[in-house]
Structures are given as structure tokens and as C-alpha cells.
């Protein structure tokens, strides 16, 4: 045959049109090009989805989930019509109703609590990407009982970072991939955020720089890391503090950086038993004091020319004694408690590895300094010729945060970064706009609900100290249904969604009238103790009424939670809706780029299936707001202020000139950041590829926490209203205040029950204490750890109905370390019984050796309730898949005093998923299915058998 031998159309027609929007197949929010082509029925159909090359998040690439968007959009699990429950809760028996009836019903149910006691509405929105709007709606309604899923996700990471240095990983910052010399990644299972990390790892690899992965499981990013630290779960803090121990002993800390940007020199009052012990020493005017190295006397920290000491003891104000933060820090971390020899057994990390990694960090930071020829001026007015960086960078996520010691562990990691001088410098960690945003620049939480009135401010925020707790007049009883901002979890900045149903069921602190949820699979994979939660949702009181009287739920798919709703509001798919990925919310910026984006209906739902009658949840919420007459959503004449969410996106102003979308503002669409609403703003976004970006000026790119150019630009762009001082908190005074409350020295005094744990866990210097679940059980009964991680190709339960993704992850074995398999007599394919203090499950086993020797694990949220998501009741997800959730209780094992504490971090309320302790044995019955099993949920629709997607175009 010759060179040109057969006919082949090498330039076939691809698509009729490309529409650019934002992905929603996970929380990464990449830009996508949706190719639209006419289908067999003449209606527009999705031909192909690819990454948008111009988009700042993904720069053209797209992951497996994003690439499977077609199957998500055309999933047979889609809900098509509002549903009203007709059978008992849990069975999935509904009748279809019209939207008008649904909206009238919802309005009626919501009206009563608003007029009587707005707290009786618990409004929680799960994997919501519109929290600035849903939170605002809750505020206008007047209920403090609002949060999204952060409390059971990664609030420790966010709070630990923001309280320490005014930033955090992922949405608030990222490694300086193109300049870093050494990158360390802790507890990240291929998500948060998905594509930027993969792009970044590729760049670090291309540059030949080293990657160290710290994770009990060596898959994904840890598989490609140059070095793996197979840490024991819950011990990361100890490992990090041992690295700090080594760095201090080597004298490898950046003192200049510490003096400039941190509270290292601040004097801490040493007055054990006194009401001021542990607070910063202040002068009469309230200014914080440091000790002048020359004179040994106290001086204002802000005084020009003062050279503060980092060690010693200062007597001030008539014999009071105070010592610099750094002195306390050196004493704490240089002690043998944190020596590699003393932590090696608990962490599972060899002494040699701890010491060598400390040396690697020191070498990269101090011997490979990066200098960028870029003059800049700091906020004190000092001019700098260059930007000098310590090129060591870190990233971490749920692996270190989903523990009861996670807040302090996250603080410890940030302390390590700060001691190395590597926050927002070339080669280090970089803030992403609108960050840095330290606690003083964040809202406070608001409670004190009043019937018929909005709250004074947003329900969620960052408490400054004990004075911002949301407690009833007795100083003890929580105001919120989830007990957030109470003594249980004072700094629960994202709320505690995982406690809502059990608290509402127990009536502790009170019962609710309506549970209103969006996109949160609380009767399954998003709850601890899933079986118990299902029961709570089904339970009735002595009158035969449900204990949780009304449940309204909005979802796009027939998830497990749908079966428990009384009223189901069918949401659109992500290709049929308006959304704004707002700077007021969880931003999508990159360090050099301020950005936000939209979703818009690239296809009209009415054309996407016969009888499809769905509405975007946010539009429905705005309409409900107008029907309820909520301020901000209603005109003076009582009419609706916004037609729908798109109208809100373009015309709502959070403050004059600042709205949900930052780009193309002003009547002419030429203002950015600040400007009047632009009625054509959405069109401008569409024309621009679905997003807006503005580039951070060169002289503002680094040291943003102290950079005058950054401050000026941030004010100009509407990110902040004035300069924001940001002193990194090596030592956190608010935590010292809580300790004083626990000591009875400060108001409000902590209740007796909470005193001991506040004293232990609220150390103002980052610390480590053993995870709670392990302390509450006998180690001999539950000698092993068990955890889940999210696969790169599946996002929570959303992917389960996806015909393509379920072929990759349709069932999940438990991966068991080889040594445990040998000890217990397990081989691949065997069935094992896994038990915890709470329950037992039966699962299929697969041996694995690239894992911490005491840790077994599985993929997250693959297991499904039989029949859910309109899958076959015998689907592998139901019969060979399982959840670890059945082993995890929302409460810890009972203590000797009979108290049962929430299975959460005591500081932030973060759900402690990864504290789980288990035992394993070969199951007596070596046949499936997995256990527990539940009666099949009724399908809302019969799914097609086979798919031949795209056949009409071949």
C-alpha cells in the first residue's frame, strides 16, 4: 500500500458552537469550552467538553470528572419536576407537583418560624458555591442557623491559616510553583484543588525540584513524589513540630522575617493564676509592648527605631513580668517532647527522615535564596530594592485538618512556613487575591435572632475572642442549632453541619420547625453515623409527627437525601444554570490574577429532556425571599426585587459599587472591581469566555501582607476598603483568652465540663495532643487507623450516576496493609469485618503495601444505598461498595462522667473523620454483599440500559 492509501475525513465537523462556562464536576471550578451540536431531535446537545486555555484556574486542561460532564448532564438520575412526599420518609415515594404549588408550600412552611422564632429554620447548603448569596438570604430571613459544608470538610485548614497569617491553602493561596526549590504536600488526596495542583506538580518536576509527600497512603500525588513520608494518621502535628525542633537547634529560622512580619517579639505576660496571664503586655493606651534590646525596657512595638529582643524577661509596669513570644516558642519546641527520637514511634516516621527533611528545608530556604529585581515599598514606608524569597513551599488539606487536633496541626504547619520566612515570598507560599485577609478584616459571626427581623450581620464569621461567642444569656447555652460558636467549638468559622440533624432530633439546644437543605447528602455519605441519621430523619414523636417536622431539599439528582425530603425542589445541572463564582465567596483567583466567573445556561433545560421542568436553586431561593418579603429581595411596593439569580448577580450590591461580580462594572461595563451595576454584565462575561481577570501589578506580587502597592491595588479593586494590618500570629492571644475563661479569670467563664479541654487544646502556641477517639477507646480493641480519600476521578457521591466514572470507581475495596493481612489471615478478594467503638461493617479486602503499616483505607463515597441515584438496586456501588461512615459516630465514646462530646475539633468544630480507630477480622461469611444493606430506595425514573452517546454524529 502506498503513502496515501485510504479515504479519511481528517477535518470532520466538530460542533455548531462553543459556549464557555465554569465546570461544577468538583469544587475546583475550571473554565470549560462546551461544544454544542444539534442532536437527532434537532435540539442542541453537548458534543464535547474541554478545558478553556485562557482560564486562570486550569489553563486548558481538564480532569476526568470534568471530561465526564456529558454523562452528568444527561444522567437518568436527574430530577425533572418538584416532588411532594406521599409515602413515609426514607422510601422515596413522591408525587410530581407544579412549581407554583411547591413554592406556595415552601413559603407557608418558612413563614411561620420567621414570624415566631427564626432559629426554627435550619438552612444548610452543603456543597454550595453560592454561599455569599445563601448566607445573605439566611441573614435577611433572620436565622443564625446557616452554614455550608465547611465544618465537615476542612474548616481547620481555613481557620488555622486565617487565624495564624490571614490566608490558607487552596482558595486563599498556593505554592510559587515556578520558583520553589522544595515542595511538601501533606494529606491531599488528589483534590482541593484538582487541576492547579497537577499543573503545579508538573512544573516542579519539569524544573527538576524535589517533591515530598506526607500521607499515610502512597497513591496519586504521593506516588509521584520524590520522597514519601508514610505518617500515622493524626500525628502530622508532632512530625511538623519535630521539624521545627530541628530547625531551631540548627539555628535555621529567618529572624529578620520574624521581626518584620510576626508577633515574635511581643511580650507575653507571665503571671500564672492572674487574670492577664498569657495576654500581651500593653501600655496604658493599649499598645502592645516589646523589650528594647539595648535598654531591656518595655517599648511600644510600633515605636520607630526600637530594636526588639526575642529572648529574655522584661519587668514593666511595677514589677510585672513578661517575655517575648519567641522565647516561649523556643522553650516549647526545643524541649525533648518534640525531638525526632521522641516522636518517631508515634508518627511512624524514622528519626533519619525527620532530621534529613529538616536539613532539606533549611538548605532550600537559606542556601537557595531567590532574588527578584523588583523594588517595592512596605506598609511602614520602607523601600526595598528587591524581592528576596526563601523557596520552600507547602500545601495541605483534609488529611491534616479532619482530626480533633487538626486546628493546632494546621497552625503548626503555618508556624513552620513562617519560621522559614516563606509566606508570600518568591518560591514560597503565595496569597491569592482577595487574600491576605486576617481575622480583623473578616466579619464576626452574628446571632441574637429576633422574630420577623434580619440578623445584624452575616451568620458566619471569625470570632475575635470569647466576647464573640453566640451564647444565650446564661453564658452556656448555644444560640445555634449546630452549637457553633459555643464552648463546644468557639472558632467554628464554617458552622457544624454534621451536628445539625442529631441536635435537631435531640432538641438540644432546641427543636426546629423546618430543615432546609441544598446539595448535601446528609442521609448518606455526608454524615457520620449514616444509619443513625436516617433513623433520626424517620423518627416520630408520641403524636405520630416527625421529630424534625418539615424537610425541604433541593438537589439536581435522586440522591439518598431526596428520599427523606417532604418537598423536593429540582435543581438544574451545571450546564443549565446561572452561577457566580464570586470574590465575595470562595474565590478562584491565582496569585498573579484576581478572577471571578459565571455559569450560564449553555443549554436550556426545557430542550434537554421530555417534560424537564427544573429551576436553579438560587433563583428559587430569591423567589422564596420575595414571597416571604425579605429585605433586600423585595421592593417597597412588595414586588420582587430580582427576577432571578442572573438579575441578582448583575444588580445586587453588597456595598455601594461592589457586587457579586467584579468585572465589567459601571453603566458602560468599563469599570473593574468597583463600579455601578451594569445591566449587561452577564453578557460581558459570556463574551469574555465566562470569566473576568485582572493582573496583580508586578510590585504587588509578593509580601502582600506588608506591601503598600498591594494594599493600594486591593482598595482600588474593591477587595478591601482601607489598609489592613496583618501581623502573623505565632502566638495567638485569642486562644490565651479562652484559656483564661477556662481558668475562671475572664468572662464569660467556661462551664466546668469544658475547662480541662480548653486548657489543653487552646494552647496559644501551636501544639499537638492525641486525637480524641484514640483516647476514648482501648488501643488493644481498636489498634488500627482507617480513613478514606477521594479518588481523582470521582467527586463525593455526585459521580455515582455518571455512566463513565462509575466504570472507573463502581466499587471500593478496603486496602489493608500487607502485615495486617498476614496477621489476620486475609487475602485479596476476602471479606472482612471492620469494627469500631460505634459499629461494624463487612467489606471486600485488597492487600496493599504502599501504605502506613497501621492504616487501612478506601475511596470516599463510592458506596451507595441500593436504588439511589436511579441505579440498579444490585449495582456494584450498593453491593460491593461501602461507606466507612457507618463506623464513625458524631459523638465520641462516653467518658467516665457520662458526657459524650461531638467527634470534632474542640476549637473549630471540624468533623474528625480521620480519628477513626478500628479492628479487623476475617468475616465468618465469605460472600457478599457488603454490610450494612438498606431497603432499596425507590427510583424516580427508569434508566436506559445501554448508551451509544454521539451515534448521530458518526
Amino acid at each position: 500500500m502506498g503513502v496515501h492509501d485510504r479515504d479519511l475525513n481528517k477535518s470532520p465537523h466538530v460542533s455548531d458552537e462553543v459556549r464557555k462556562t465554569t465546570c461544577y464536576m468538583c469544587a475546583c471550578r475550571c473554565g470549560i469550552n462546551v461544544h454544542i451540536r444539534k442532536g437527532e431531535d434537532g435540539q442542541p446537545k453537548v458534543r464535547y467538553i474541554e478545558g478553556n486555555r485562557d482560564h486562570p484556574v486550569n489553563k486548558g486542561v481538564l480532569c476526568a470528572k470534568g471530561s465526564a460532564g456529558i454523562m452528568q448532564h444527561y444522567s437518568p438520575a436527574r430530577l425533572n419536576k418538584p416532588l411532594l412526599r406521599v409515602g413515609e420518609r426514607g422510601k422515596g415515594e413522591f408525587k410530581e407537583i407544579e412549581w407554583e404549588e411547591a413554592l406556595q408550600l415552601a413559603t407557608k412552611w418558612l413563614e411561620k418560624p420567621r414570624q415566631e422564632d427564626p432559629r426554627k429554620l435550619a438552612f444548610f447548603t452543603g456543597r454550595d458555591q453560592s454561599q455569599s448569596m445563601t448566607g445573605w438570604w439566611a441573614q435577611q430571613y433572620g436565622t443564625p442557623n446557616f452554614a455550608a459544608h465547611g465544618g465537615f470538610c476542612s474548616v481547620n485548614m481555613a481557620a488555622g491559616g486565617i487565624y495564624t497569617f490571614g490566608g490558607a491553602f487552596w482558595e486563599f493561596g498556593s505554592p510559587d510553583w515556578s520558583n520553589t526549590e522544595l515542595f511538601m504536600i501533606f494529606g491531599v488526596a488528589e483534590d482541593h484543588d484538582s487541576n492547579p495542583i497537577k499543573l503545579g506538580l508538573a512544573e516542579v518536576k519539569r524544573r527538576g525540584k524535589k517533591i515530598i509527600g506526607v500521607n499515610p497512603v502512597r497513591t496519586g500525588y504521593n506516588a509521584v513524589a520524590d520522597e514519601w513520608v508514610g505518617i500515622t494518621p493524626g500525628m502530622d502535628g508532632l512530625f511538623i513540630l519535630a521539624l521545627i525542633h530541628e530547625l531551631l537547634k540548627m539555628g535555621k529560622v529567618d529572624l529578620d522575617y520574624l521581626l518584620r512580619y510576626t508577633n515574635a517579639a511581643y511580650l507575653v505576660i507571665d503571671n500564672p493564676g492572674g487574670a492577664d496571664h498569657g495576654l500581651f503586655a500593653r501600655d496604658k493606651a493599649g499598645d502592645i509592648l516589646v523589650m528594647d534590646r539595648k535598654t531591656g525596657k518595655a517599648a511600644k512595638h510600633s515605636k520607630k527605631g526600637v530594636k526588639p529582643a526575642l529572648q529574655g524577661e522584661c519587668k514593666y509596669a511595677r514589677g510585672k513580668v513578661a517575655r517575648p513570644v519567641f522565647q516561649l516558642l523556643a522553650e516549647k519546641y526545643m524541649s525533648d517532647d518534640f525531638s525526632p527520637e521522641n516522636v518517631t514511634e508515634r508518627t511512624g516516621v524514622p528519626v533519619s527522615q525527620i532530621k534529613r527533611i529538616a536539613q532539606d528545608l533549611a538548605e532550600a530556604a537559606f542556601e537557595k535564596e531567590i532574588v527578584i529585581d523588583q523594588p517595592w515599598v512596605d506598609m511602614k514606608g520602607e523601600k526595598h530594592d528587591k524581592m528576596i524569597g526563601r523557596p520552600v513551599s507547602f500545601h495541605a488539606m483534609r488529611g491534616i485538618s479532619a482530626h480533633s487536633n487538626g486546628f493546632q496541626t494546621c497552625r503548626a504547619l503555618h508556624l513552620l512556613q513562617i519560621l522559614l520566612g516563606s509566606i508570600d515570598c518568591p518560591g514560597g507560599f503565595r496569597f491569592k487575591p482577595p487574600y491576605p485577609r486576617p481575622v480583623p478584616a473578616q466579619p464576626k459571626p452574628h446571632g441574637f435572632a429576633v422574630a420577623g427581623k434580619p440578623l445584624a450581620g452575616p451568620p458566619l464569621g471569625m470570632p475575635r475572642g470569647p466576647e464573640d461567642l453566640l451564647l444565650e444569656e446564661d453564658g452556656v447555652t448555644p444560640q445555634r442549632i449546630d452549637r457553633a460558636y459555643s464552648w463546644d467549638a468557639p472558632l467554628s468559622a464554617h458552622g457544624m453541619m454534621h451536628m445539625v440533624i442529631s441536635n435537631a432530633h435531640a432538641g438540644d439546644p432546641y427543636h426546629v420547625d423546618v430543615l432546609f437543605m441544598y446539595m448535601a447528602n446528609m442521609s448518606w455519605n455526608s454524615s457520620m453515623n449514616s444509619r443513625g441519621v436516617m433513623q433520626m430523619l424517620e423518627d416520630k414523636d408520641e403524636n405520630g409527627d416527625y421529630v424534625i417536622p418539615k424537610i425541604i431539599y433541593s438537589d439536581a439528582y435522586n440522591s439518598e437525601m431526596v428520599a427523606y425530603a417532604d418537598l423536593v425542589l429540582p435543581d438544574t445541572t451545571y450546564l443549565e444554570r446561572h452561577d457566580c463564582i464570586s470574590l465575595l465567596d470562595r474565590p478562584i483567583c491565582e496569585p498573579d490574577v484576581m478572577a471571578d466567573s459565571i455559569r450560564w445556561p449553555v443549554v436550556d433545560p426545557a430542550t434537554q429532556a421530555e417534560g424537564r421542568d427544573v429551576r436553579g436553586f438560587q433563583s428559587v431561593l430569591i423567589e422564596l425571599g420575595a414571597r416571604l418579603g425579605l429585605p433586600g429581595m423585595t421592593n417597597e411596593d412588595g414586588t420582587a426585587k430580582f427576577k432571578d439569580y442572573a438579575d441578582y448577580m448583575a444588580n445586587h450590591e453588597r456595598k455601594p459599587g461592589v457586587g457579586p461580580l467584579a468585572g465589567f462594572r459601571g453603566k458602560d461595563g468599563k469599570s473593574h472591581g468597583r463600579g455601578e451595576p451594569n445591566p449587561n454584565q452577564i453578557d460581558a462575561y459570556i463574551e469574555n469566555g465566562g470569566f473576568f481577570e485582572a493582573h496583580v501589578p508586578e510590585n504587588a506580587k509578593y509580601f502582600k501582607h506588608a506591601n503598600q502597592h498591594w494594599q493600594d491595588w486591593a482598595v482600588e479593586m474593591g477587595l478591601q476598603d482601607g489598609p489592613v494590618e496583618n501581623v502573623f500570629n505565632l502566638y495567638h492571644e485569642a486562644l490565651a483568652k479562652f484559656q483564661l475563661c477556662a481558668d475562671g479569670k475572664m468572662e464569660p467563664v467556661a462551664p466546668e465540663t469544658h475547662k480541662e479541654r480548653i486548657k489543653t487544646c487552646f494552647d496559644p502556641l501551636p501544639t499537638w495532643y492525641p486525637p480524641f477517639e484514640g483516647e476514648g477507646i482501648d488501643e488493644a480493641d481498636y489498634p488500627y487507623h482507617a480513613l478514606t480519600q477521594r479518588p481523582a476521578a470521582m467527586y463525593h457521591s455526585w459521580g455515582s450516576q455518571n455512566a463513565w466514572l462509575r466504570q472507573i470507581h463502581g466499587a471500593n475495596p478496603l486496602y489493608v496493609p500487607g502485615a495486617i493481612c498476614e496477621a489476620v489471615g486475609l487475602e485479596d478478594g476476602d471479606w472482612a469485618e471492620i469494627s469500631s467503638h460505634h459499629g461494624a461493617i463487612k467489606v471486600p479486602v485488597k492487600r496493599m503495601d504502599a501504605v502506613n503499616v497501621n492504616t487501612m483505607w478506601t475511596w470516599n463515597a463510592i458506596g451507595k444505598r441500593s436504588g439511589a441515584w436511579n441505579l440498579d438496586p444490585d449495582a456494584p456501588e450498593a453491593k460491593k461498595g461501602f461507606l466507612l461512615n457507618h463506623l464513625i459516630h458524631e459523638l465520641l465514646p462516653p467518658k467516665s462522667d457520662g458526657m459524650r462530646w461531638s467527634n470534632s475539633d474542640p476549637v473549630t468544630g471540624q468533623a474528625a473523620w480521620f480519628d477513626l480507630r478500628v479492628n479487623i477480622k476475617k468475616a465468618s461469611d465469605q460472600t457478599g454483599p457488603t454490610a450494612p444493606q438498606f431497603p432499596a430506595q425507590k427510583k424516580t425514573k427508569v434508566a436506559p440500559v445501554n448508551i451509544e452517546y454521539g451515534k448521530e454524529w458518526n
Binding site: V3, L199, G230, L255, Q353, A792, Q807, N946, Y949
Partner: protein, 246 residues
């Protein structure tokens, strides 16, 4: 039996897959499927898609292996596998109808689906298991190297690469002419010690794999360093001296 091309341009289009950066995320797998199900030939179907035993055809799959070296901790290797567009392609020579063929102009191995009788001989002959019979269409499917993308005038020039390469977030996939020693992909193979998959099979695969770079084992000892105690001669002395120099 079908012949391999007797005249060629010398061009050998193919993929270079970097096992050092592949994190096993399946982006290439799924993006390949979504492009190709609406593209070349019959769709890539899914049998029992929402049922108890869903099976679909895919042109590219990721296999995950655990390696347990004696002197280092066990590790995971992610291994994407699709047709390697072999120079001596046994799947072509075994084809009874001439459906399976290798293009002389660029070396891409294709199936002419109009001629395919679904006998499956080519899949048996391929030592890599890189061909899959579509479970619904009963036609043999395989990687086309996105022949309907790489020359497609309807796509922007920068997008004229296989879908898997276009989408890979870890930049673990590279596309180019491996017949040209000066191409970027050939240089990459030379620099990184790119390897043939199962060379003993004599298939002369065009695609190449770049091996993972060596790892640091936990047991590697630290350097000897001087450490300081927390006293005036040690850490505190260093502290004061260093502060004076600032």
C-alpha cells in the same frame, strides 16, 4: 491478512508518556472517551450503563501497579495504556479483511470500521491488550491518535493534538513525530531514557514511556550537623549575635 505499508514518509506520530508525573487521575481516559464517542467511527458504547455490571469500550485505560522493591518502601506506579502504533503491528498483519491498517503517511494504526467484521483476531494478536471490541456496536475500537483532531481545520491549530494530550493536567503526555530525531518528543525520549513497552515482542512500538526518576528512601541518613542547645552559649547566643547583624 493485511500488509503493513510498503511506502512511508518516515513520519511516526505517537505519544510519549511520562510515568514520573502521571498521577493516575484518569483525565486522559475520560477525555478520550468523550471526544471519540462522538467522533471517529461508531460510538464508544456502554452496556448496562446504570446496571449491576456496566461495561463500556475505552481507547485508553490506566493500570495501577504496586511495586515492592526489597530495599525501599512499596510504591505505586500509574500506567496509562493505549495503542502504541507499532511499526511491526501484529494487529494489522493478522486482520483477515484489511480493516486493520497502518497509515504510510504518519504511521497511525486504524480500523476501517466499514470493513471490520468484528472477529476479534487483532485484539488477540496485540500483546498489549490495546484494542477493545465495542460491547454494543460489535466493532473493534482502538486509539486513532485522534486522527480526526490532529489534522482538523475546524479546530484552532493549538488544539490539533490528541484529546488525551490536550487535557492531561500533569503534562504527562506528549505528542509528536518520533520518526524525527530532532522533534521535541524524540529529544525528550533521549534525555529521559524513554523506553519501549515489552520490546521482546518485536512489535517496535512508536509510543514511548519515560521511567519514574529515582526516589529518596526514608532511611537515607541526614548529614552531620552542629546543633544548638537552648542556653546562652548555644541558641540564645546565636540569636543575639544574629539579631545584631540585622
Amino acid at each position: 491478512m493485511t500488509s503493513l505499508p510498503t511506502e512511508t514518509t518516515g513520519k511516526k506520530l505517537g505519544l510519549v508518556i511520562d510515568l514520573d508525573t502521571c498521577v493516575g487521575c484518569h483525565a486522559c481516559v475520560v477525555n478520550c472517551k468523550e471526544w471519540n464517542t462522538g467522533g471517529y467511527g461508531a460510538p464508544l458504547s456502554d452496556l448496562d450503563a446504570y446496571g449491576a455490571d456496566p461495561v463500556g469500550s475505552w481507547l485508553n485505560r490506566i493500570h495501577t501497579f504496586e511495586v515492592t522493591p526489597e530495599d525501599a518502601p512499596a510504591q505505586i506506579v500509574h500506567f496509562p495504556k493505549s495503542c502504541l502504533h507499532c511499526d511491526d503491528a501484529p494487529c494489522v498483519t493478522v486482520c483477515p479483511t484489511g480493516a486493520s491498517y497502518k497509515r504510510g503517511e504518519d504511521g497511525i494504526v486504524l480500523v476501517d470500521e466499514d470493513m471490520c467484521i468484528g472477529c476479534g483476531l487483532c485484539a488477540w494478536a496485540c500483546p498489549y491488550g490495546a484494542r477493545e471490541m465495542d460491547p454494543v456496536e460489535n466493532v473493534m475500537k482502538k486509539c486513532t491518535l485522534c486522527v480526526d483532531r490532529i489534522y482538523n481545520d475546524n479546530l484552532p491549530e493549538e488544539d490539533r493534538v490528541p484529546a488525551c494530550v490536550r487535557t492531561c493536567p500533569a503534562e504527562a503526555r506528549h505528542f509528536g513525530d518520533l520518526g524525527d530525531p530532532n522533534s521535541d518528543v524524540s529529544k525528550l525520549v533521549a534525555e529521559r531514557g524513554g523506553m519501549d513497552l515489552m520490546p521482546e515482542q518485536g512489535t517496535k512500538p512508536v509510543n514511548k514511556y519515560l521511567p519514574p526518576r529515582p526516589k529518596t528512601a526514608a532511611a537515607v541518613e541526614p548529614k552531620e550537623t552542629k546543633t544548638k542547645k537552648l542556653d546562652s552559649k548555644g541558641f540564645l547566643g546565636w540569636l543575639d549575635k544574629t539579631l545584631e547583624k540585622l
